[in-house]
């Protein structure tokens, strides 16, 4: 019984990270309708920066987590100038965007693998885990879970309650027609990218506290986040977190029942089933 609970708990912790990582990509995809293939690399760059910066600067990880999230937010803002957006929005936009984002992913991978040749992580092990009866609850992973929940809630409130959130929702449903009522798409695009990048920075920084990472896993991270974003639907941060949690718990259980090597096979089968079901019920 305790073993079952421990597996579920472990799944919830890793699932919360999956969800947190997918929230930013889902926001970018939902608003701009662009698949940002650099996203996973950004998460991992944040994680790798988190693994090195405390040693280099002597800063506390607690301070570095929001600092990295904010830095990536600014990076997202600066890296998507209006001119680039309007250029990419002209003819064959999805094609151009995919190529450009894939290109940046490769550039980051090359640079990242030179700076961090081996998998790195901050891996804080000093924190004593909590105990609930025989159940062990790791402190750092609980923090990731709480951050995932807080991030999803904050973004949901932002989307539902703020004026910008309304603009994003209008953009999601009406597409380019929002320009007719004077909404600036390029400006919204910049903001969406900044928010998405901010979440990538936050997720990456938290990942480094529990797991060693390598920049070579960037594309896999993007694809996993993309799967979650598509299953959960657009502009639904809490739903994407929920799907991430389910995936984490599912992976944990499948790993225990069928052996860890079969866990991805069954995850893929579940993913395909959900996609087919959503399509048949007209919710593609």
């Amino acid at each position: 019984m305790i073993a079952c609970l421990q597996i579920t708990l472990g799944g919830l912790f890793i699932g919360a990270w999956y969800g947190l990582a997918a929230i930013g990509l889902q926001f970018i995809l939902g608003t701009t309708k662009k698949v940002h293939l650099t996203y996973g690399h950004l998460c991992l760059l944040a994680a790798l920066a988190m693994s090195s910066l405390p040693g280099l600067l002597g800063w506390s990880p607690v301070f570095l987590i929001p600092a990295l999230a904010l830095s990536f937010f600014c990076l997202g803002w600066l890296a998507h100038p209006r001119a680039l957006f309007s250029k990419l929005n002209r003819g064959g936009s999805q094609r151009s965007f995919l190529l450009v984002s894939l290109g940046f992913a490769l550039v980051f991978e090359d640079i990242g693998s030179r700076i961090w040749a081996l998998p790195s992580g901050l891996l804080i092990t000093r924190a004593t885990p909590w105990h609930l009866g025989s159940l062990t609850i790791p402190v750092i992973k609980s923090g990731t879970f709480a951050a995932g929940l807080a991030g999803a809630l904050t973004l949901t409130l932002f989307i539902r309650k703020s004026l910008w959130g309304k603009a994003f929702r209008a953009w999601e449903t009406a597409g380019s027609e929002i320009a007719l009522v004077g909404v600036d798409q390029a400006g919204l695009g910049k903001k969406a990218m900044a928010i998405g990048f901010g979440f990538a920075g936050l997720a990456g920084a938290l990942l480094a506290l529990s797991y060693p990472v390598s920049i070579q896993e960037g594309l896999d991270t993007t694809l996993k986040a993309l799967c979650l974003a598509v299953i959960a639907g657009t502009l639904a941060p809490l739903r994407v977190l929920g799907v991430g949690l389910l995936l984490g718990v599912g992976e944990g259980w499948i790993g225990m029942l069928a052996g860890s090597q079969w866990s991805p096979v069954l995850s893929y089968a579940i993913f395909l089933t959900i996609l087919t079901w959503r399509n048949k019920s007209g919710r593609q």
Binding site: R95, L99, L102, C227, V265
Partner: protein
Amino acid sequence: MNRSKLQFYLIPGILLILIVVIGRHHSYAGLLLWTFLLQGILALSYDFLGGYGGELHLGHGTFFGIGAYVSALMILAGLPWWLSIVLAGLGGFLAALAISPVLIPLQGGAFSLASLVFLFLFHSLSRNLSRLTGGVDGLSLDRVTGMDIWLPCVALLFFLCFYIHDSLADSKFTRELKAVAEDREAAALCGVSGQKIRTEALLLGSTMAALAGGILPIQSSYISLQSTFGLEVALAPVVIVLIGGPGTRFGALSGALLYVGLQEWIWTGIGEWHLALLGLVFILSGVFLPSGLAGLFKIQTKPAPVDR
């Protein structure tokens, strides 16, 4: 076939034969040619659903991998190499047929992801069924044939794919595919079945890719998860078609030529920072060539005359 059409195929055909002859005597040139022809076949086969069909078919490499494994297993079972290639094509066709009920109804992002998930699924299956597929160690074969066999073989397949791709470029088939890609419901109102035409495109492209995969174990005498179901293998045709220009007569070919040439130049000439440079090429191509190389040279498929 009219005279100009004949010349259109004859000249590249003769050139190809000449190159193959040269390639057989220069192993480096032969290997370079092999890479170009293989990428060309994959890009041409991708272009049906990925170009004319308007889908981002990220899992196209699945069928290449299936073909490679079927062919290797058949050779290990003692079958002649040529029959193994044929069976590889058949394996790819059957796999596409089995997958199509799930994949074809999906569109856009859902299609791309589902096709990618199929790639991962087959990758995982090949890794886990290690008794059959060799798992992470891959499958090693005794030397099957030399360059004098596999190079003409891949050249022949390339020419066949080029011929099929070109002869379908202005056909009713591609017009219907384009119509379905643009507006499925409007196409259905005009009597075009999206399900049927997209299934046909998937089957055609998958069989071609599987045939190409069937030649891989003959060329390298070894296949691994990375060389068959690897993400780099699967993404190459997508990138090539994006660079060249999707759904155009020469887009896939010009993209393959640029991609292979650049990769080779970067690997041999520059060495360091090869991945970053390749990335830079993608970025520049995305920003400055929004319609691909085909768009740069205004190479478009001519509109077909209206049937009366």
